[in-house]
Structures are given as structure tokens and as C-alpha cells.
């Protein structure tokens, strides 16, 4: 066996690529399968093309918070900090973003500026909570899962409490609505598939951020340093990279992205806040990170699968009257609702392809 220093990484890259291809194929197959069910069920009421197009559009929209959450996870874990607080970050951002937009509207701003103010508040709040996570896990070096749990419980408590305070006081606040749909020129006017190109701004920014994250991680010095800190902090420290600074910065960047994910729930999807509205999607995003091999594009593909599972649920509800009697249990939301969670478990067991985490993931650095 002749192993020149050059060929070993290349071989590793090739096998990683093959594993990725397998994973993408599995995901594509599963999405096609879920879409097929929808077409079978709804085929009696609508033409197949319309169903497929609306299924894909829903899939893209509902995978938005998952994709953003996954990017948050990637920034954190690539730098060596496990972040199970994504769930709480999203929840806090969703609440405070919504509150921000509502109060801006109440102060007399028009809808769009109010909503943008809300998005800004969502991002700031999420960054502040991330700062707590960074302080606890990087500076205080407490167990990162516990630190994340602290933030999750804090977010549930704080948003639930403030939500109830508002309900108790019977405050009647004006609604700023949701972020407007952006029509991508020409493509949005396509006959059947035009609906795919009529998306709201956070959904579009999620797609852009996937590409940006990929570029930043693998084609900039920042990304190199981040990966170095997550793989071998001691070596990074030796060559003069500040482990602490890189970890703090990446956790905060991740926090900003999770804030955008939170804003999706209350400023882009539905103009209201419910205490449990994130419903585990922060954790599903983490599973997407693992399934996608800590790669932005891979994780995004995984979030599409979870989005497809959710799109199936939405579509089955819509077409529930055309379900045959033998499948009537699908009319209740619960069984199909389990699908994203079951897929999450399957995804991280490695049944659909294995991946390796950053070597120093979750380990505090004793500098």
C-alpha cells in the first residue's frame, strides 16, 4: 500500500462523497414516496401537477425554521460547542419578535417596518440567550447539555409567563400581519410550478444562508479557524487562534440565525404566539445536523425530508375526506404527526448513513 500524504485525505473525501450521495438518494426517495402518497390521496380532487407543486412549496416553507436551526447547530458544533438550546432560542425569539412587532405597530409604525423591527428583536434576543449559553459552556465550562437545558427551560418559563401576563391584563394589541410574499421575477409566473418561487423573505434567506454558511466554513479563514477549534482546540491554540473567542463568536452567529428561525414562526408563518409553538423543531434541526454530517448542504437536505413529512401531514388533513375508510386513522393528525419525530430517530441511528462529529464537539477547552 502506498499512501502518499496527499492521497489519504482525498480517499477519505471520496468515501465521504459516496456516503453523501447515498444519503441524498435516500432522502430524495423518501420525499418522492411521501409526495406519492399525497398524490394518491388527493388525486381525485386536484390534478397531480398542482398537488406536487403545492407539496414542494409547503415542504420548502415548513423546512425553513429547521434549516435555520440546523445552520445554528452547525456554527456551534463546528466550533466544538453542542447547542441543544436551539429549541429555546427559537421559542424566545418567536415570542419577543412577535411582541416587538406588535408594540412597534401599536406605537404607530406601518406593517412592514413593524415586522422588520420584530425580526430584529427576535435576532437580538436569541443572541443574548446564546451569550448565556456561551458563557456557561465556554467560560464556566459546565456540561453543555445542561447549559442548553437551562436555556430551554428558561425560554419556556419566560415566554409562558409573559404570554400569560399579557392574557391576564387583557391587552388588546394590533396585529402587524406576516411578512409579505416575494415573487421571484419570471419564475413566479410559471404555470404550475410558479408557486415554488413565491416565497416569504425568511424562507428565501434560509436558502441563501445555507450557501453562505457553506462558503464561510469551507472557503474562508474564519471557517478554517472555526473548524480547527472544533476539531483540535489545542493545536489551534498553539498556532495563535483564540479558542474562547472563536467559540463565543460562532455560538453568537448561530444564535442570530436561530433568532431568524424563531421569527419565522410568528412573523412569517402565523401572526400569533402559542406557548408550545416550536414543538421540538429545535431538536429535529439538531438531528438534521447529525444526519447531514455537520455540512450545511447535507443538513439542509435532511431538513427537506422533515419538511416533507410535515407537508404530508398538512396535505392529508386537507384531503382527509378523500381518505378510504380502511385508512381512516390517518384522518386524525396524530399518526402522521409522529412521522417527523420517527424520521429523526431513524436519521440519527445511522440507518440512512453514518457521519462523524467534530472531534472536540462538546468538550470544554482548558486553555
Amino acid at each position: 500500500m502506498k499512501t502518499t500524504p496527499k492521497s489519504a485525505p482525498r480517499r477519505r473525501r471520496q468515501s465521504a462523497n459516496r456516503a453523501n450521495m447515498m444519503r441524498y438518494a435516500t432522502v430524495a426517495g423518501l420525499i418522492a414516496f411521501l409526495m406519492g402518497i399525497t398524490v394518491l390521496v388527493g388525486g381525485g380532487s386536484d390534478p397531480a401537477g398542482i398537488i406536487v407543486a403545492s407539496f414542494l412549496a409547503t415542504m420548502l416553507a415548513v423546512s425553513t425554521p429547521l434549516a435555520l436551526g440546523a445552520l445554528c447547530g452547525i456554527f456551534c458544533e463546528r466550533a466544538g460547542v453542542i447547542n441543544i438550546a436551539i429549541e429555546g432560542l427559537m421559542l424566545a425569539a418567536a415570542f419577543f419578535g412577535f411582541a416587538g412587532a406588535t408594540f412597534a405597530k401599536a406605537a404607530g409604525l406601518p406593517n412592514l417596518p413593524s415586522l422588520l423591527a420584530g425580526v430584529l428583536v427576535a435576532i437580538v434576543v436569541s443572541v443574548l440567550f446564546s451569550l448565556l449559553h456561551a458563557a456557561l459552556s465556554v467560560s464556566f465550562k459546565i456540561n453543555q447539555v445542561i447549559s442548553g437545558t437551562v436555556i430551554n427551560i428558561m425560554a419556556i418559563g419566560l415566554t409562558g409567563y409573559l404570554h400569560q401576563v399579557i392574557v391576564f391584563r387583557g391587552l388588546r394589541l394590533p396585529s402587524a400581519g406576516v411578512l409579505p410574499t416575494i415573487r421571484i421575477p419570471f419564475l413566479a409566473d410559471l404555470p404550475v410550478f410558479g408557486v415554488l418561487f413565491r416565497q416569504q423573505p425568511i424562507a428565501i434567506s434560509a436558502l441563501i444562508l445555507v450557501a453562505v454558511t457553506h462558503f464561510v466554513l469551507f472557503h474562508t479563514k474564519w471557517g478554517q479557524h472555526t473548524i480547527a477549534v472544533g476539531e483540535h482546540p489545542r493545536a489551534a491554540d498553539t498556532v495563535g487562534i483564540s479558542v474562547k473567542r472563536m467559540r463565543y463568536a460562532n455560538v453568537l452567529i448561530g444564535g442570530a440565525i436561530a433568532g431568524l428561525a424563531g421569527a419565522y414562526f410568528t412573523l412569517e408563518s402565523v401572526p400569533s404566539f402559542q406557548p408550545m409553538l416550536v414543538n421540538g423543531r429545535g431538536f429535529i434541526a439538531l438531528a438534521a445536523v447529525i444526519f447531514g454530517g455537520w455540512m450545511p448542504v447535507g443538513a439542509w437536505v435532511a431538513t427537506l425530508l422533515f419538511g416533507a413529512a410535515q407537508a404530508l401531514q398538512i396535505n392529508l388533513q386537507y384531503y382527509s375526506s378523500s381518505l378510504p375508510e380502511s385508512l381512516s386513522f390517518l384522518r386524525t393528525s396524530q399518526f402522521v404527526g409522529m412521522l417527523p419525530y420517527i424520521l429523526t430517530v431513524l436519521a440519527i441511528t445511522g440507518i440512512m448513513g453514518r457521519s462523524t462529529p467534530p472531534a472536540a464537539d462538546g468538550q470544554p477547552y482548558e486553555g
Binding site: I142, V150, N152, I153, I342, V345, T349
Partner: protein, 375 residues
């Protein structure tokens, strides 16, 4: 330390014991105190009176025999789930699936409680029916904990994520059954709940006229059992060794995979038992509304109790008191009960990051860090 003289050793030992006492008692107490202060700040900032709030909380938790009974009622599931998490934390595993395990335990207990007499077409004597009902719940929880354990042992899938996913799967499954096949068929019922369980499957109240029931006694017995299991048996030793250092455990001939499955199975069993006790002792049926969140609150309880049965029981009483006092607080001070979750989050924060507490109160750091809260 080979050169130390006996007197030096005993002096060292005394200093060490004092340090342990500070670490085990004073730091958690200060964490609770700091958490309550932080909660007061939140109450004040949201425009209410912290004094009125905490007076209501105190009256509601300890102000009367009924209040004490309610505190005990709330503490009972906290003790079970806190013990469940203590086992998993000592084993170095995060069982965040307490909610799902508890809900399934309650579901199975309710099913055995009302279906068994129907299926057998006869009344089952209580000495058989009640233990069977409790066992059914425990077994359901055990199964729901063992599967993530098995997945972890076989594939390395992080139990942090799988146990949380299993919560959602279990809660949806329970919601389906309570809205469908197992829904209480009485014509007045509009809620997602099962029919009432048979009299023979019920645990009696401890005192006539109060809700506190024999489940509390069972919880305390379970705490002793967990203390014995973890401290005095081979399995407990294996769990603790695997939790402290997996490689060393492997080296010592411990089958880590088996221990991981056993740890999460045992942990799930206690959470399932919590659900079964709620059904047989308190509600006499399963109703989706009451289990949510206990699994996560128990994380704070367990860390506050430093993963030890006695500590968990005390912390569970504290959290039970807060929950039981919260409704009175809401009534007298018009402050939503949800503030309790904020206070709990602060307590968890200060217990987990005890460095903050030590900094605030100028307490010197211990030489060794406790498992899981340390690096």
C-alpha cells in the same frame, strides 16, 4: 499523600468533610435563594409585587393542612421522575424522555385499571389489580426508556435527541388513544381522557378528606430502594462506573452496552411508575393535561439534589411546594403560575453553574467537580 501522618490525614479529612458539606448543602440552598431573588426581579419588572407573590406562594404551600397535603401531592411524581433522572445522570446518560415515559405509564395503568375487569368479566381483587396496574405503568415506562438505550448501545445515537423525540411520539400516541379508542364514552364527556379506573385499582388517600395518597409512601420507599440499588448492589456500581468513565468501565470488564440499556430502562421504569401512581392514587384516569413538563422540571430537581436519593426527595418537596403554592399566588397576587417555571429555570441555572453562586457569596471552589455539572 503517602507521606501524610495520621493527624494530618484526620485534619485533612475534617476539612474535606466540611468542604463536602458546603458543596452538598449550602451551595444548593444559596442557588435556591438566588433563584427566588431573580424570580422576584422578573415579577417586579413585569409590574407586580414580589412580596405579595411570595406570601401567596408560601400560604399555598404550607399555610394549612390542605396546603401541605397539596404540596405532598405535587411532590410525589417529582420524587419518582427525579429519582429516574438521578439514575440516568449517575450513569452518565441524559434521560430527557421523562414526559413521554410518564404519559405512557399513566396510559397503561389507566388501561389496566378500567379494562381488566371488563375483559375478565369479573371484579379483580385489589391485592392483584392494584399491583398489576402499577406494574403495567412501570413496564410501559421501562420499555420506552429501554428503546433509546438500545439505540444508543447499538448505534451510538445520542439519547439526548432520541429520548426527546420519544416524548413527542408517546404524547401523540396517547393523544390519539384518548381522543379515539380509549376516550371516556360517557355522554357528558368532551375531554380527551379515559374512563375512570375500577375501585380495585385505586390507592387510598393517606388521610380522609385530603388528596395526599399512598403514592407518597411508595415514592419514599422507592427513594430508599434507589439508594440501595445505586450504593449497595453490583448493578448500581456498574452504572456509576460506566457513568464516571466508560473506557475504564470497559477495562474493568463491565459490558457498557448492557449497562446503558439497563440504566435507561430503569430510569424509564421509574418515570412510568410516576404516571401509574398519578392514575391510581390521584386522578383515577388518564387525562393528557397533567403530565406535561415534569420530565424537564425533574432535571432541575435532580441536579439540585446532586443526583442523590435524599437530595432528590428534598428538592422534589421544594418544587412540589412551589407548584402547590402557585395557584394560591395566582389567586391572591394575579401573577400567572408560569412564573414558577422562571424561578425553576433560575434555580437550575445557579445549581448547574455553581461557580456563579460561589462568586456571589464568596465561597471557595471545591477541589473536585461533581459529575455532569463539571467539565
Amino acid at each position: 499523600m503517602s507521606g501524610a501522618t495520621p493527624t494530618a490525614l484526620s485534619k485533612q479529612g475534617r476539612a474535606r468533610r466540611r468542604q463536602e458539606l458546603v458543596q452538598a448543602v449550602i451551595v444548593p440552598l444559596l442557588a435556591v435563594f438566588t433563584g427566588l431573588v431573580a424570580g422576584a426581579v422578573v415579577i417586579y419588572l413585569s409590574g407586580s409585587s414580589p412580596i405579595l407573590a411570595y406570601r401567596g406562594l408560601w400560604e399555598g404551600a404550607f399555610g394549612s393542612p390542605r396546603a401541605l397535603s397539596e404540596t405532598a401531592v405535587w411532590s410525589t411524581p417529582y420524587i419518582f421522575v427525579g429519582l429516574a433522572l438521578a439514575i440516568s445522570f449517575q450513569g452518565g446518560l441524559f434521560n430527557l424522555g421523562g414526559d413521554g415515559q410518564l404519559a405512557l405509564g399513566a396510559l397503561f395503568a389507566a388501561a389496566f385499571g378500567y379494562l381488566l375487569p371488563n375483559v375478565l368479566h369479573t371484579e379483580v381483587p385489589a391485592v392483584i389489580h392494584l399491583p398489576l396496574t402499577l406494574a403495567a405503568g412501570a413496564l410501559a415506562g421501562l420499555m420506552w426508556g429501554a428503546i433509546p438505550g438500545w439505540l444508543k448501545a447499538r448505534t451510538g445515537a445520542s439519547e439526548v435527541i432520541t429520548t426527546i423525540m420519544f416524548n413527542y411520539i408517546a404524547l401523540l400516541f396517547v393523544a390519539y388513544l384518548l381522543n379515539g379508542p380509549m376516550k371516556d364514552p360517557s355522554p357528558t364527556n368532551m375531554l380527551a381522557r379515559t374512563p375512570q379506573i375500577a375501585e380495585t385499582a385505586r390507592m387510598a388517600p393517606l388521610f380522609a378528606g385530603y388528596r395526599v395518597h399512598w403514592g407518597l409512601v411508595l415514592a419514599l420507599i422507592t427513594a430508599v430502594a434507589v439508594w440501595f440499588l445505586m450504593g449497595r448492589t453490583a448493578l448500581g456500581f456498574e452504572i456509576r462506573t460506566t457513568g464516571a468513565n466508560r473506557e475504564a468501565a470497559e477495562y474493568a470488564g463491565i459490558n457498557n452496552r448492557r449497562v446503558i440499556v439497563m440504566t435507561l430502562a430503569l430510569s424509564g421504569m421509574l418515570a412510568g411508575l410516576a404516571g401509574a401512581v398519578e392514575v391510581t392514587g390521584l386522578y383515577y384516569r388518564h387525562d393528557v393535561s397533567y403530565s406535561a413538563g415534569i420530565g424537564f422540571e425533574a432535571i432541575a430537581i435532580t441536579l439540585l439534589g446532586r443526583n442523590q436519593p435524599l437530595g432528590v426527595v428534598l428538592a422534589a418537596f421544594l418544587f412540589g411546594a412551589m407548584r402547590s403554592g402557585a395557584s394560591r399566588m395566582q389567586f391572591v397576587a394575579q401573577i400567572p403560575v408560569d412564573i414558577i417555571s422562571v424561578v425553576q429555570a433560575f434555580i437550575l441555572l445557579f445549581v448547574a453553574a455553581d461557580a456563579i453562586v460561589r462568586y456571589i457569596y464568596h465561597i471557595r471552589a471545591p477541589s473536585e467537580k461533581p459529575p455532569l455539572t463539571g467539565a
